[in-house]
Symmetry: D2
């Protein structure tokens, strides 16, 4: 079975990674690509490495009213741009929205694929988690589900490579010379990812996430997210590790490791690595997780969700090993 697939927002980093994964997928055929800054170009002019069969695809100007026939659409539009545009897509076209507009919106399933795949299969509208929530929630889910930590007392210190900040356009904050060799905290005490994290923490634990603290930082590298999460609970390291191994037993993309995870372990893949270090005497659990912000943090999880809702093997097109070094 080959599905006719489209990507809108092909000029952004999430759209570009979706292109790479869709092109390699055994059951997907890319038949439509649309983007803002590149409308009218050939796909190969924007992405010189595309195979010949895709080289001549013209990047369209996004117009939901004039879509070709599609089975599946990946949307990676800037915040605020998805809601109106995607509302007009016919129901028979399955949509995975990589952008943030539909997370926890009515009619859309929150696509936390490694944690609740059963809540995803059967839907046609999937809101892909943000890159930080992908890492945070995958890391915390086993502890929350097993009541090993207090959901109301979670401090998340998050770090992301700069592709996680989006393709800035006229934003010299992300210019090379300004960003290189520099580490910057941002979004203190409020960040667009907090609502979906808080809601999910509450759903997984049955408790309140009112005390959630989240501090992201920009790191001078292209890809990678690491979250270092400070939790309260009396569990031991082994109890946490054990809960995670059981929680993710049989799940293809989450690896529980003894050693603290490095972002490079996940780069270029749809993997997450999680680890835990606890000090029961001080009621402290440190939970750590890494993802590739464009992999599990965006396009990788989007393809995984698409596999789930299209009845394909969950790992289809996502089996590539991380790119190392």
């Amino acid at each position: 079975m080959t599905l006719r697939v489209g990507i809108v927002g092909i000029s952004g980093f999430g759209g570009g990674e979706a292109l790479r994964l869709v092109a390699a997928h055994p059951s997907f055929e890319l038949v439509y690509a649309a983007g803002e800054g590149s409308a009218g170009s050939l796909l190969m002019d924007r992405f010189p490495g595309v195979p010949p069969r895709l080289a001549g695809l013209v990047i369209e100007k996004w117009d939901p009213a004039t879509l070709p026939q599609l089975d599946l659409l990946f949307a990676s539009l800037p915040t605020g741009r998805s809601a109106e545009a995607l509302a007009r897509i016919p129901q028979e076209v399955k949509i995975v929205d990589i952008g943030g507009d539909h997370r926890y919106a009515e009619g859309w399933a929150y696509g936390l694929a490694d944690v609740w795949p059963d809540r995803i299969a059967g839907h046609t509208r999937i809101a892909n988690p943000g890159c930080f929530p992908a890492a945070v929630l995958t890391t915390l889910a086993p502890l929350l589900a097993n009541r090993l930590i207090d959901p109301g007392n979670i401090i998340i210190d998050a770090k992301t490579g700069i592709s996680g900040a989006g393709r800035g356009g006229a934003d010299s904050r992300f210019g090379y010379a300004e960003s290189n060799e520099n580490l910057v905290p941002y979004g203190l005490l409020q960040h667009v990812h907090m609502p979906e994290m808080a809601k999910t923490i509450e759903r997984l634990s049955g408790g309140s996430a009112a005390g959630l603290v989240f501090t992201p930082h920009l790191v001078p590298m292209t890809r990678g997210v690491l979250v270092t999460i400070y939790c309260r609970g009396g569990a031991t390291t082994e109890q946490c590790m054990d809960a995670a191994r059981r929680f993710y037993a049989g799940r293809a993309f989450v690896r529980v490791t003894d050693k603290p995870p490095q972002t490079k372990w996940a780069t270029g893949s749809n993997l997450s690595f999680v680890s835990y270090a606890a000090d029961p005497e001080r009621n402290l659990v440190i939970a750590m997780g890494v993802v590739d912000n464009l992999g599990k943090g965006a396009a990788g999880q989007a393809v995984q969700n698409a596999n789930l809702i299209c009845g394909l093997p969950e790992t289809a097109g996502l089996e590539g090993l991380p790119v190392w070094p």
Copy 2:
């Protein structure tokens, strides 16, 4: 058909990239891995992202006398270490040597896969080109074959990411703080890659490469090779571009581009990008080419050569798009 494949030198960067490509190959099954510094470890301890089916593979201490049954072996050993070790492998085991010991050695075919695939198929012993030669020879072959440049007057200014220098061990020259934010020329007027480049230039052109100049530089990035080659000849830009398009027509991995190539276009793939800019009035042709030093510059071309000698589709396992950004 599934071939039983081994990799020796799994701890090095070339061996690690071979692992990534072999694991994704539809016709290869990795059954043997050997390495110096990691003998006795589980593959998953060295490569946390390997799939479950490979996680428990033990990395053996390399001993050509006690190999399991293999169809194909990739060797990525330090310079000087291959010759003696591989001599003892039975002829029925096909070998692709990613290291340099067998280039232009008797009984070994030089595996310049995009240029002379016909000289590779049918062999069982392939000497994979070095990373710089892979880029240089792919870039120059159309000009040499079409007599558009003088083979005796070629100046190559080469740049490589630091994984191209090998995994240094106790070498603080490649320590992060010493290498980061730094550009360094090395190997002036002599470099281990010169003989294979000179021989191949002579073979392709029928002329002498006695005046070959080659200056490599270390660049503060992980992957990527770019060669800027200054040649003499009266051709126009379009004649060079045209010769390259015809030379590589139908070849899956070489892309001829109008714009100067960027190393990132090739990163994570087996692609090469080549371009040319000529000034006939000054008898000057600038030829440029990029590869991923671990892709076309090492493991990617090794897998491509393996496909050729094993009778598999040339692109098997190598169709992944470059990883961008």
Copy 3:
């Protein structure tokens, strides 16, 4: 007045930075340099940019028994190597130990120069704080001194450029390709810097620091430390900022900023930048600070301490602006 100055451990990054600062200091004359891996070399062979007057200085093999006449010695030896070696230096030679062996040792003053300069002047033996403590303690001192936070409930999430991990020698963990584009937590739940941080927190607050949590991370850049510190207290942002401005009023090297600090603001200088963001409703204070790990985190603070104990202007030789971009 010109002081005769020596540096031991000139081959390490701390020693190299001390060289740069000593060479620029109006009252210091470098007359002695010693190092392990470079003994016997000329200073200019190790540091090609030294001025002619220092170019011919021979790097000695460290032998405390055969020192020339010195007024001041900077020691930057590996952990465990200082204690025995420095014990034999005559009392009339002032010593600033950049390494960790003498922090809070009897007879040595802890050189937290921006916080308690009065406890430093008058001493002859100064233990320079570690890079992380330099950032952490500078950031927390105003909050602790003003009882704005609970000293027993401090979580420090720390990030450092890779020169902060030391010059590794045969340590491929810090090889370029392994470290580049990678973020790694390490030293969880125990780190060599914790005792000096805990002791100082207790000294500044009068309370217990038993609950101190500290998690360092390696960041792919050469220089820079950022600490994001999660504290408990009911203060407002403005109360914290105000306390810091008053605490550091007239102190030359600490800048209190409204915006979250970036490591690059401090690079190449002896500056610290601190900022605070509080949420009184949740009893949360986030305190942030940046230093250059080789500046305020090592050699910069060492020179500042030397100025204090030698009766020189505190800012002598340390007035250089950060290097930007």
Copy 4:
């Protein structure tokens, strides 16, 4: 003597580096700063590390008609913007133009300070060389002056850190994720720096530079220029090195080294490092040089030129060692 100094173009990288050097200069007092994107801001808001005495300086909107009284002005405006603006500055204000509009213009001396300081002293209008010419001409001058190479057959392969490309504004070509881990040739067969290089080569050699070839490349680092120059001549390595040592004897900022120079040797300083490797049998001389593109390549040489025309010691304010690592 303290000179009243102004900097226009303070928002760019050249202007920012000029600020750092002027602030540290014993005879300069910064009394005026102007910039496009930052007009109206306080200097400390744009440059958090400025000392208190400069913190309150307001960045003016550039208007040559309303300048305060100045002795010296550094101009670092975008190409094309200097000529008209600076024409209106009174003659008693000395000007060093870091931008390119006045190179070899009538009434302006070309400020190649290490090569012909005598042609600079006594002037009041100095056109600072471009970053690539600074490196190229410093490297070639001894060979040209001593007729060791043919000025008509020079091939320059140049590499620059990304701050050398200027502060891009709305230019995503220099966005972090696009530029990081990437190497790109640009400006082939024509580059804005070629005329000044050709003219100077001709002036130094008395011959024609008609065959000049120059290929710049963007390198993923912030600062640093390295030029690898392929020349024709029958000289030996030692003849070239010797010519350079004699040519630069007594010059404070040029270091002739046996080993190939690394960009990091110059970073943060006004130094150049040059080296040569020749193969007389093949009539080949490879000349190499490094500078910091913002140091000798821009603001460093500008301050050096200012010292020369203001009758100050040539090294005033420029004695800082390179920042390493």
